[in-house]
């Protein structure tokens, strides 16, 4: 497949859909969380208002160039991740730029935003930002190991790193989904997914009162607005990744919404039940149980 | 046993005993002078051994004089070479002994001691 100008239009369409879906999903999830806490909670469209409000702020301050660029990195990371994946299986329009690279690209491109954000946060000179980044990176490294094992197991299972082909191999009923055919790899990855979503119990990175929401503590106004956009797009991109790898992908938007919603709910369930882990605790945990599951997955695929 | 007890063997044995005595002195005496004496004995013992090895039973000293006829000297004198060697060895031994004594002298001058254990500054 070659790049053509059409792709840009398709990409914008995907971004638009995903952005809206992400914002609504965010609102609904928060609503669900509130209902678990016996509150009414925010209105489902509150995330929209918040973003508009932030863009409507009149003043901005800047701590320097990197501070300014960080949200750009972050949003580029989210959008890139989304666009490098086939969003809807079988749809040329929503496969976007997945012909540019395979699963490995997607795995590593996740870090584009993380790294940029970390740099910008650090540029603000705020010690809490740096503490948050330290925690975040520590956690990322630890859940990445089970994730890698799971990815290797899946790539071995399907003998490909091409996400489209992985999805294709899972077509034909839920019994073909990786989560059924390769349960250990799926388990390892789904646990890593908890870490990747950064919800409780792995949300000490953004501890609101201890280190006032960690890395983005100095971001505000439009800069924060960009980050909020990313907070809508990035989780959905990750959800789509896991959906593609483990749950057979989606052939239309409805299927995508249903699947991603339930995958998200997995982390929400865990999140509302479990209290927060300290960083050392979560690192230790990721390097024990999920790691062992990952190793079992590899052993099973190998022999 | 008895027939082995001839002159050359006796001198050989004496030589070896003197060597051992000399070595014993060299190794055990703590006085520098006595050590030198031990060395001298050791040296002398070696000379005795040398002479006794060169001895041939029933022959005379390899000195060409009235007692030895030049023409049949090779039949009646003992091997002259060990004797010559011994002479040289004695000279060298003397040289070494002299050097040792001069060393002892110097050492005594420097430190006023003849005890060998006082000269152990250099070690390891």
């Amino acid at each position: 497949m070659e790049f053509s100008i059409k792709n840009i239009g398709y990409a914008l369409l995907t971004i638009f859909i995903v952005l809206n879906y992400g914002l609504i999903l965010q609102g609904i999830i928060r609503k669900i969380g509130a209902r678990v806490g016996r509150r009414y909670g925010i209105r489902w469209y509150q995330p929209y208002i918040d973003i508009i409000k932030n863009y409507a702020k009149r003043s901005t301050i800047t701590h320097g160039v990197m501070f300014y660029i960080a949200p750009v990195f972050r949003l580029s990371g989210g959008i890139g991740l989304l666009l490098f994946m086939p969003v809807i299986f079988g749809s040329e329009i929503f496969s976007n730029f997945s012909f540019a690279g395979d699963l490995v690209l997607v795995l590593y491109f996740q870090f584009f935003g993380i790294l940029g954000m970390a740099l910008g946060a650090a540029e603000s000179g705020h010690p809490y930002s740096a503490i948050g980044v330290s925690r975040g990176l520590s956690q990322v490294t630890s859940f990445e190991l089970p994730l890698t094992l799971g990815v290797i197991a899946i790539a071995m299972q399907y003998q490909t790193l091409n996400i489209t082909e992985i999805v294709a191999a899972q077509q034909g009923g839920f019994l073909n989904w990786t989560v059924i055919t390769n349960p250990f790899a799926a388990a390892a990855m789904l646990i890593a997914f908890l870490g990747a979503m950064g919800r409780s119990p792995f949300d000490v990175v953004l501890a609101p009162q201890e280190i006032p929401i960690g890395p983005p503590t100095e971001f505000h106004s439009g800069l924060l607005g960009v980050l909020q956009l990313n907070r809508a797009i990035f989780p959905v991109a990750k959800l789509i990744l896991f959906m593609n790898l483990l749950f057979g992908g989606a052939t239309n938007w409805f299927e995508l919404i249903v699947k991603t919603f339930f995958i998200y709910m997995w982390s929400v369930f865990v999140g509302v039940v479990y209290p927060r882990f300290r960083v050392d605790q979560s690192v230790r945990w990721f390097l024990t149980v999920p790691l062992i599951i990952g190793i079992i997955a590899i052993i099973l695929i190998r022999f | 046993m008895i027939e082995k007890l001839n002159l050359e063997n006796i001198s050989l044995a004496v030589g070896i005993i003197v060597i051992l005595i000399g070595l014993w002195g060299l190794l055990t005496q703590k006085n520098l002078i006595k050590i030198v004496i031990g060395f001298a004995l050791f040296d002398t013992g070696i000379h005795i051994v040398m002479v006794s090895i060169g001895y041939i039973k029933g022959r005379t000293a390899p000195i060409l004089d009235s007692a030895v006829d030049v023409n049949n000297a090779s039949q009646i004198v003992v091997d002259p070479i060990p004797q010559a060697l011994v002479l040289t060895a004695i000279v060298i031994g003397l040289g070494i002994t002299a050097l040792m004594l001069s060393y002892v002298l110097k050492m005594y001058q420097k430190r006023k001691s003849l005890e060998i254990n006082n000269y152990k500054d250099l070690k390891w």
Partner: protein, 1045 residues
């Protein structure tokens, strides 16, 4: 032609004549003596010349008109002439060196001096056993006389010990002589040899006595305490004579009488020699007095020569070459070192730092030390090479192992000593004066070492093939060392560039890749040199030495050339590393690991050479025996350079303490030499296994663990350059892992990672070097906020860390992608998972590096810091350009490498469609990714910039700080122990187990050495006892086992 008898005549005559000048003009007397020595030298040299050029026949000289055995006869043959020349040259220069001393002490000493050399001359020439004894005694007495005349207290007591010892030895010799005479009835050595005494009953003991006495003359371990005391206390000039001249004569006697002994005598000599070599060097490592240290080394070296003579059955017709090479090096270098000891006058090796006040003396010392250890281009290098090759060829593996062990141990104390000289604290030390007569001999001997080294190389046949041009360039740079930096830098760059230009057409395949890394990389890093002011003495010859070694590796066609280049590179890099500020201990561990690794490589080459009649590197692909062992030896040898886990402890310190532009050289470029070695090894030897264990699988694990541990250590460093150094360890781990995969993609990953590592490590080390240059500290937590002061450096570091972490779109991702595909292809998932885990850990240190230095809070002291020097930035930005090119057009890097690999690994190559790479598992289009990412990025940025174009710029304390405000930048900069929680969990992984292990090994060796050397308790009687026990033990061994009976 002047007859050799005139040597004796002149010496005796001069000695006699000098007696008349007792009180008269001492300088005149000295001149007379010098004339005599010169004439003696002339005679022997003239004979040597005749033997070398005019087919001169061996000449017998009969005294007193009779033929032997009735008279004493002298012989002048080829070997005699060599030894005589050596001894007399040494005598001549010793005399020059001792000029002031001899003049002060008077005519007596001069007489003794001349007599000493007369004695040694006769000892060499005589063919009469008793005459030999006599003149041996004469020379001994003369030496002891020299010591006595010095009138120094400790010298005298040591002379007394010498006397006692030599008395006993000569007694043994005398008994032996008379016994020999008794059985062979002749004292003429030729007759004795002809009579085959050892086959006569009783003759064995006679020859044994002679043998043991001659061996004892050579001060075998452990019966040599007296000699050590003499070396320590005597005037260094005398020490040089004892160490060189007497020992030479002693070796020659042994050599001369060797045919008289039974074949098993060889064995005894070899055992004693090897024991002496290893034992003496072992005891030497605890030594801290320079002259005594030299004593240990002398004894060890002579032991080695003895061992070589004893190993004649193994070495065959190479014996003479080896023995001469070793002996000559020993004589020249040891005499030189003793003479330097006389100039510097520092007893303790720590005080030798004073020598640097005159850098040329340091050059001399370096020459001597490196010659002793056997570095190229000195004769000992070629001798050792032949020695090891022959030993392996004739299955002398145990000997080989012990000789390498001994050499290694010698390296420990020699390099430690040299390290003190180069880097020790040299304030508050006494001044020393240099007299021309003292320095001249040392200079000439050093030149002699180089000359003989070249001569040896012509004998081994590599002179024609090996490229000496770079070495001449080094000499040239040394000669122009007084010029300012920018001139020398230009010349160096031009030199390297010219060389690259000339060899470029001849480079092929992976040699081309590494050639470019080494030479083009070298030019790039040299650019940074313009930032330095002043003269930067000594830097350029050393740098070029390293690059000469590196390009030698590239050009090497034979194992010998390869090893030559390897050692050259090691020496050059050692000097570069030790130039750093606090790098003495690190340089020591570097050189020791390098030398140890080099010996393993040497052993590997030797084993590979068995039953092959060429030295071509191709022998590795045609190995006859021990293939897995050879592979392991070579692999471990090369991995000392790639700093794989277990062998890495030298690296962090060495790289961290090096100068700003040296760090990239030794990190980005030098480490690739190990990779290059591994590539050559693996290409030639292919798959290897011990039984069922695949060595490559072990290698893969080593690579993986290295990667994890290296990166983990890097994440916990506070020192920026140390962090980068550990990061190098980690990255080299990926490379080793990639190579171990032994597949097209694995190698593609490994080689492209090598290239990438070269680029980003140069970039980062230069950038961080520039920062350190400005802020004068390497501790990251003391920096911070420098982005505003050093924006250009910041950009390089940013790009560098993005490449390290393998985040798309920069080129680091390509390596990761290929590695993934390679792993899926190969199926080694667990080490692979470790490698990918390591890749993620890289984020930790990457972020830390950029955050703690450039982001966060700017410190008070750094408010007026300037951007890094321009010339440091130039190479960085050139590299940045290349990185961007490779990132956008990955096939410009990967496709050529893939094509190189095709002949070796035809399967599993990438398929290229433009910039789209397709593997069996996935695909990747670097250019497209670059465009997409840049496109998104620019769009978002433009939009954000438009939105916030009026943003208020604030300063560093304008942060929301819980209604308070920060008080000091130091307390606001979160930097120290940055990954504390991580350390809490995984810190146990980075406890320095390996460093502790090596420390324990080192301490253990030192403790053993210290225990054993207590036998040298300074008591003359105990020394005598050692001699007697030595005789008894060897008697028992000899007659209990294998000697004759």
């Amino acid at each position: 032609m002047v007859g050799p008898i005139y040597i004796i005549a002149i010496a005796l005559g001069t000695a006699f004549f000098l007696g008349f000048f007792k009180k008269a003009n001492r300088t005149f007397s000295f001149g007379l003596m010098l004339l005599a020595m010169a004439f003696m030298t002339f005679i022997s040299a003239q004979w040597l010349y005749a033997f070398l050029t005019q087919n001169q026949e061996t000449v017998q000289i009969f005294t007193a008109g009779f033929k032997p055995p009735f008279s004493i006869s002298l012989q002048m043959g080829f070997h005699e002439s060599i030894f005589l020349t050596i001894i007399n040259v040494l005598g001549l220069f010793s005399a020059i060196y001792l000029f002031g001393h001899l003049r002060d002490k008077g005519v007596n000493m001069m007489m003794v001096f001349v007599v000493l050399f007369m004695g040694l001359n006769v000892v060499v020439m005589t063919r009469d056993l008793f005459n030999l004894f006599v003149f041996l005694e004469i020379s001994t007495i003369a030496i002891i006389g020299l010591i006595l005349l010095e009138k120094k207290e400790d010298a005298i007591s040591s002379g007394f010990k010498y006397l006692i010892a030599s008395g006993i030895i000569s007694g043994l010799l005398l008994i032996g002589i008379i016994a020999v005479y008794y059985y062979s009835e002749s004292l003429f050595i030729n007759d004795i040899i002809a009579s085959k005494l050892m086959y006569v009953k009783g003759g064995t003991i006679a020859t044994f006595l002679i043998l043991i006495a001659l061996v004892l003359e050579l001060k075998p371990f452990p019966a040599n305490g007296w000699a050590l005391d003499v070396y320590e206390s005597a005037h260094p000039g005398v020490g040089a004579i004892v160490s060189s001249a007497s020992a030479t004569a002693g070796i020659f006697i042994l050599f001369k009488l060797l045919p008289a002994f039974s074949d098993s005598a060889y064995y005894i000599i070899a055992v004693i020699g090897t024991l002496t070599f290893v034992g003496s060097n072992l005891l030497g490592i605890k030594q801290n007095k320079a002259t005594r240290l030299l004593g240990y080394s002398s004894i060890g070296q002579i032991g080695l020569v003895m061992a070589v003579i004893g190993l004649t059955p193994y070495l065959g017709d190479k014996t003479m070459f080896i023995a001469f090479g070793l002996l000559l090096t020993h004589i020249l270098a040891k005499a030189g070192l003793f003479w330097l000891a006389g100039i510097v006058k520092s007893k303790n090796i720590r005080d030798w730092a004073v020598i640097r006040r005159n850098p040329h003396l340091l050059v001399l010392m370096g020459t001597f030390v490196f010659a002793l250890i056997g570095f190229p281009p000195f004769p000992s290098f070629f001798a050792k090479w032949e020695l090891i090759m022959q030993l392996a060829n004739s299955s002398g593996m145990v000997w080989l192992a012990f000789i390498l062990l001994g050499s290694f141990i010698e390296g420990i104390y020699m390099f430690r000593w040299f390290g003190y000289a180069v880097k020790g604290e040299n304030k508050d030390l006494p001044e020393f004066k240099i007299h021309w007569n003292k320095i001249l001999p040392a200079i000439l001997f050093a030149i002699g070492l180089y000359a003989f080294g070249y001569y040896s190389s012509t004998l081994t046949g590599i002179a024609g093939k090996f490229n000496y041009l770079p070495l001449l360039f080094i000499v040239f740079l040394y000669a122009i060392d007084f010029l300012p930096v920018y001139i020398k830098n230009t010349i160096s760059i031009a030199g390297v560039g010219y060389y690259l230009y000339t060899i470029y057409p001849g480079l092929e395949e992976y040699r081309l890749v590494f050639g470019l890394i080494f030479l083009a990389g070298g030019m790039l890093t040299l650019l940074a040199g313009y930032a330095y002011k002043g003269k930067r003495q000594g830097f350029y010859p050393l740098t070029i030495m390293m690059f000469a070694g590196l390009l030698g590796l590239i050009e090497a066609k034979t194992t010998l050339e390869f090893f030559f280049a390897w050692e050259l590179m090691t020496a050059g890099s050692y000097f570069l590393i030790i130039r750093g500020k606090k790098s003495m201990p690190h340089a020591l561990s570097y050189i020791l690991f390098s030398v140890g690794g080099a010996y393993l490589i040497l052993a590997g080459f030797a084993l590979a050479h068995i039953d092959q009649n060429t030295f071509s590197l191709d022998i590795l692909s045609n190995v006859q025996y021990y293939a897995p062992v050879i592979f392991t030896l070579l692999a471990v040898g090369f991995m000392t350079k790639t700093a794989s886990i277990g062998l890495h402890i030298w690296l962090p310190g060495a790289h961290a303490e090096a100068e700003s532009d040296v760090s990239p050289m030794v990190s980005a470029i030098l480490l690739k030499a190990g990779v290059f070695g591994l590539i050559i090894l693996m290409l030639h030897m292919g798959f290897q296994s011990f039984g069922n264990v695949d060595i490559y699988y072990i290698l893969a694990w080593i690579g993986a663990i290295t990667a994890v541990m290296g990166n983990m250590m890097a994440a916990f460093q506070e020192d920026a350059k140390r962090l980068l150094a550990y990061s190098s360890i980690g990255f080299l781990g990926y490379t080793v892992f990639g190579l171990a995969l032994m597949s097209h993609l694995g190698w593609l990953a490994a080689i492209s990672l090598s290239v990438i590592h070269f680029m980003f490590k140069t970039l980062l080390f230069l950038a961080i070097g520039g920062v350190v240059w400005r802020v004068k500290t390497k501790e990251m937590y003391k920096m911070g906020g420098l982005i505003k002061k050093m924006p250009f450096t910041f950009i390089s570091v940013l790009m560098g860390i993005i490449v390290i972490s393998g985040v798309p779109p920069l080129t680091g991702f390509g390596g990761k992608w290929i590695l993934y595909n390679a792993v899926l292809d190969k199926g080694w998932f667990f080490p692979a998972a470790a490698v990918f885990f390591a890749g993620i850990i890289a984020f930790l240190y990457c972020f830390r590096l950029i955050h703690t230095i450039f982001l966060g809070q700017l410190k008070d002291e750094h408010r007026e810091v300037k951007e890094a020097p321009f010339w440091m930035l130039v190479p960085q930005y050139i590299i940045l350009g290349v990185i961007m090119l490779f990132s956008a057009l990955p096939n410009s890097l990967l496709k050529p490498i893939g094509e190189i690999l095709l002949p070796y690994f035809p399967d599993g190559a990438l398929e290229w469609q433009g910039q789209l790479a397709i593997s069996a598992f996935g695909y990747w289009n670097g250019k497209l990714i670059m465009f997409i990412v840049v496109g998104i990025f620019v769009t978002v940025f433009a939009w954000l910039w438009y939105m916030n174009r009026n943003a208020q710029k604030v300063k560093q304390f304008n942060i929301g700080y819980s209604a308070e405000r920060p008080s000091l930048p130091e307390t606001t900069h979160f930097a120290y122990n940055f990954f504390a929680p991580y350390k809490k969990v995984l810190g146990f992984l980075v406890t320095p187990v390996i460093s502790n292990f090596w420390d324990d090994v080192s301490e253990g060796i030192h403790a053993v050495a210290d225990k054993i050397r207590r036998i040298y308790d300074g008591n003359a009687q105990n020394y005598a006892l050692h001699i007697i026990m030595f005789v008894v033990v060897f008697y028992l061994i000899a007659f209990g086992g294998f000697y004759g009976i």
